[in-house]
């Protein structure tokens, strides 16, 4: 099929970007969306033009590196998949496809379609771990965990840190991501000792990074490739308020 692409091009963080139109001809329905971009890029390179820059690595929906806002939707029109899993059979001959980077203040564009998501790493560094050193831990089967809880923690743990939730949100809220990370640990017995400090530290870092607040629109859940549920946000809020409450108690005492 033959397509028209309107692609956001921006040389680097400090220059202004603009849409540029390209033709993508002879595209096969079996190609993935990123393979379609590969073909366009090969053509550009042959003409001596700078190829379109986009982030990607695993190309099987797990590393969270690919992004792209396709026709107004993060990761394109299909539910529960990433851009690298999107195939061209989803589009039709003659279609115009608009491709943009994630748009959110805390995710500045680095080049073309690639953005800087290091804010996510910083949030996890603030407390997204269980403080155990290597060695000296109990036998794995000394901790029995009910399957229901383990499965629910797993559901939260499937988040791939792609940032589509932020891109989908009109407030650029990172609540879905952060709450998934907090929930995974909050649901497990291993996560209990640091549960409230963790919630506090991660939420504070999230606010520091400039992510917006949540107004319960649910756009994040709808666009999340891993179907992370809004329940996580409820859990996070509860832990965060408990944490604040505990801290205030502490301050009253002193």
């Amino acid at each position: 099929m033959n397509l028209t692409l309107k692609v956001w091009r921006q040389k680097n963080a400090s220059t202004k970007g603009a849409f540029v139109t390209y033709k993508a001809d002879g595209i096969s329905a079996d190609m993935s969306f990123l393979e379609m971009l590969d073909v366009v890029n090969e053509g550009l390179i042959h003409k001596g033009e700078d190829p379109i820059h986009f982030d990607h690595d695993c190309r099987e929906g797990i590393c969270g590196m690919c992004s792209l806002y396709i026709n107004g939707q993060p990761h394109g029109p299909k539910r529960a998949i990433t851009t690298c899993q999107l195939h061209m059979r989803t589009f039709h001959d003659g279609q115009t496809i608009t491709i943009e980077p994630w748009r959110a203040g805390p995710f500045p564009v680095i080049k073309d379609l690639a953005v800087d998501r290091s804010a996510f790493d910083r949030i996890q560094r603030a407390g997204g771990y269980i403080s155990v050193n290597t060695g000296g831990v109990p036998d794995a089967n000394e901790i029995a965990i009910s399957k229901v809880l383990a499965d629910e923690a797993f559901n939260s743990a499937t988040c791939i840190g792609c940032g589509a939730c932020v891109a989908a949100c009109k407030n650029a809220s990172a609540m879905l991501f952060v709450s998934a990370k907090i929930s995974q640990f909050a649901l497990l017995p291993q996560g209990q000792p640091e549960r409230y400090n963790r919630a506090m530290a991660m939420v504070e870092q999230m606010d520091k990074e400039g992510f917006g607040s949540c107004t319960n629109t649910g756009a994040c859940e709808a666009e999340c490739p891993k179907e992370i549920s809004l329940t996580n946000i409820g859990r996070m809020n509860r832990d965060y308020f408990t944490a604040k409450f505990l801290k205030e108690e502490e301050e009253h005492k002193s």
Partner: protein
């Protein structure tokens, strides 16, 4: 050069404990005076960086993705082995050791493999303590499955995303150390060379992928945990960014490269659809537990299927050849990866392949669905079936999957001794990037185990010994070797940027991949390899004349990034061919058509080839020198593998 693997003497089961006792310790007060560089933060690198920082060393870590969480380890699906014997089904450290040595076709060191099996149990404890959500049973304890033909259930798993969950665990440990200021993390940064001072590795040269800045970093020791080189074949199950550059640059600075020709071709991948294809997708090996592999009995039937004149579901039972079950009655569909792959290739070469291209066989779940019910099959493999559907637009609940082997893992890598040190003192190598534990073939679910064993439990001890030996004298980048190595890197980048030819870097990469797959893939012959040697030599000359590299260094330049990697892959390809030519026996994933049994199975030649081939770089376009490390087997008896 005499290669000393430094394997401790004494009984197998005591080697590692004794060795740990004999290793020198660094005084706790001195640990903060040392800086250790860790390149790569996948499972091996992240676990090493975190563990070393916990011990008190200062760590500087690097990865080329935008976050350590995205390393290729994230993609592992199936699981991780450990000799926990939670199932009471007869597993033990010795059995895991034995299976690994045998599975590797007797081309790995006994000492290393035993240690791997020994520490495997600690890995699971560590991961659970970190909050890794492994699959559990209703009683609340951990679940296991049998994987890749093992006779015991020793594989721990986390749905179809064990790699992501383990990596998130190691990443969280790393994050904690970054937070505490003990690890300085550089992302989107690529290592392009090792700095050697007085014969020791004391630093690296890196390029910031966003700005192009070339920088030097100094350390008392340098650890490479940069993953495998399967992308030398262009198409593989590896992530797009996987490359050999770090290991290859180190090789050129004095680290020997061992067994480069040992590559693993995974039997169950989604077949290629066309030239646009950028990567291949693995369908987890666990599918072979319930899926049956078959091809049509005759070439005529295969042709009809290919043309669409016959539907696969209409093919009668007696017209199907379940070739693995037929040839290997005791292991059936669960034969090791190399055997399953070679048999699929054989069937396709005979003209019985299916799918539009004719380069595929079936993996059929009809029998399991009938026996277990669709719901049970969905619960076990739902995510894999969805993934297959997503890519092929075919519903595997209704029609059999089409599969074909693809390059998946590289057993070869930088040569390391028992301490994981390369032949360049101070330079260590961990994870898939080293050659150490899998011999000529890796068992399923053992790479994750090895990466984490190296990072959590081996290197933190062995690096300490080296650091204690060299002492905490400060090391910085003022030595002239830093400026010189930086200049070498800059010159090479300028050479690449100057290439304004007619062919894209991807076109060269694809061509290299074709050559490697055709002549150094599942079956190799002297004739083919010699031909490939010439083709690669030509390709290299042509690349450095006619490649197109756009833009400049001082920008986010994917064209330049790729060019550097492909240039290294071409040189590695030449060495793989050399190694494959030298090894005239068949073993594990390395099948020389000249060396097979009467039944067409791989035939080892223990008399002449029970050694590790460690190649030494001697200069640009000069032949590499072969050094041999003999493999000594004191505990296991070498037998011809048989899965009949």
């Amino acid at each position: 050069m005499i290669l000393d693997a430094k394997i401790p003497a004494g009984p197998l089961a005591e080697k590692w404990s004794k060795h740990k006792f004999n290793l020198k310790l660094v005084n706790p007060a001195n640990k903060r005076k040392y800086n250790v560089i860790v390149v790569g933060t996948g499972l091996a690198g992240a676990s090493a960086a975190a563990s070393l920082a916990e011990l008190g060393y200062n760590v500087t870590a690097f990865c080329f993705q935008d976050s350590p969480r995205r390393a290729h380890s994230i993609a592992a699906q199936g699981g991780i082995n450990a000799a926990k014997n939670y199932r009471n089904d007869g597993d033990s450290v010795y059995r895991l050791f034995y299976d690994t040595i045998k599975g590797g076709d007797y081309r790995a060191r006994e000492g290393n493999v035993y240690r791997l099996a020994e520490v495997s149990v600690n890995i699971i404890d560590q991961c659970v303590a970190q909050g890794v959500p492994f699959a559990r049973e209703y009683g609340g304890l951990l679940d296991n499955r049998s994987f890749g033909g093992a006779q015991v259930s020793r594989t721990f798993y986390a749905r179809g995303q064990t790699g992501q969950q383990l990596l998130l665990g190691a990443y969280s440990a790393l994050n904690r150390q970054i937070h505490e200021g003990k690890v300085k993390m550089y992302t989107r940064t690529e290592m392009l060379d090792v700095v050697v001072v007085d014969g020791k590795a004391q630093g690296i040269v890196t390029r910031n992928l966003v700005t192009g800045a070339i920088e030097t970093h100094a350390g008392h020791a340098v650890l490479l945990a940069t993953g495998g080189y399967g992308n030398v074949f262009y198409l593989s199950t590896n992530a797009m960014g996987c490359n050999v550059t770090a290991a290859w640059r180190a090789h050129k600075r004095g680290a020997f490269f061992a067994n480069p020709c040992y590559t693993q071709i995974h039997p169950t991948c989604i077949p290629v659809t066309g030239d646009h294809q950028s990567k291949l997708t693995l369908m987890s090996e666990s599918l072979r537990n319930d899926g049956r592999v078959w091809a049509p009995k005759t070439v005529e039937l295969a042709q009809k299927l290919r043309k669409g004149e016959l539907k696969v579901t209409d093919l009668k039972e007696e017209d199907r050849d379940y070739f693995l079950e037929r040839k290997y009655p005791s292991f059936g569909n669960l034969v090791p990866r190399d055997v399953a792959s070679r048999n699929a290739k054989e069937v396709v070469d005979e003209g019985k392949g299916v799918g539009a291209s004719g380069v595929a066989v079936y993996l059929d779940f009809a029998e399991s669905i009938a026996r277990l019910g669709e719901d049970t099959v969905r619960a076990k493999y739902g995510n894999l079936f969805d993934m297959y559907y997503q890519i092929t637009d075919e519903d595997p609940y209704k029609v059999p999957m089409r599969i074909y082997p693809a390059v998946h893992y590289t057993m070869g890598g930088l040569w390391v001794d028992y301490n994981l040190m390369t032949t360049l003192p101070g330079l260590y190598c961990l994870g898939e990037a080293n050659f150490s534990d899998h011999g000529a073939n890796r068992l399923g679910a053992s790479a994750l185990m090895q990466g984490l064993a190296d990072g959590y439990f081996v290197v933190p001890y062995t690096v300490g010994d080296y650091l204690a030996t060299i002492g905490p004298k400060p090391i910085d980048t003022t030595h002239p070797a830093f400026a010189q190595t930086k200049k070498d890197v800059e010159d090479r980048i300028q050479q690449l940027i100057a290439l304004k030819g007619t062919k894209t870097v991807d076109e060269y990469h694809r061509e290299l991949g074709h050559i490697m797959w055709e002549y150094c893939g599942m079956a190799r012959s002297a004739e083919g390899l010699n031909k490939a040697k010439g083709l690669i030599a030509q390709l290299k000359v042509d690349f450095w004349k006619n490649a197109i590299v756009l833009g400049e260094n001082e920008e986010f330049n994917s064209s330049l990034e790729k060019a550097g990697r492909v240039a290294d892959f071409i040189e590695l390809g030449a060495l793989m061919i050399e190694d494959a030519l030298n090894r005239t026996e068949s073993c594990g994933g390395h099948f020389r058509v000249e060396s097979q049994t009467e039944e067409g199975e791989a035939l080892r030649d223990d008399e002449h080839f029970a050694y590790v081939a460690a190649w030494e770089y001697t200069g640009e376009d000069k032949p590499e020198v072969l050094n041999k490390e003999p493999l000594v087997f004191e505990n296991v008896k070498l037998t011809q593998r048989s899965y009949k």
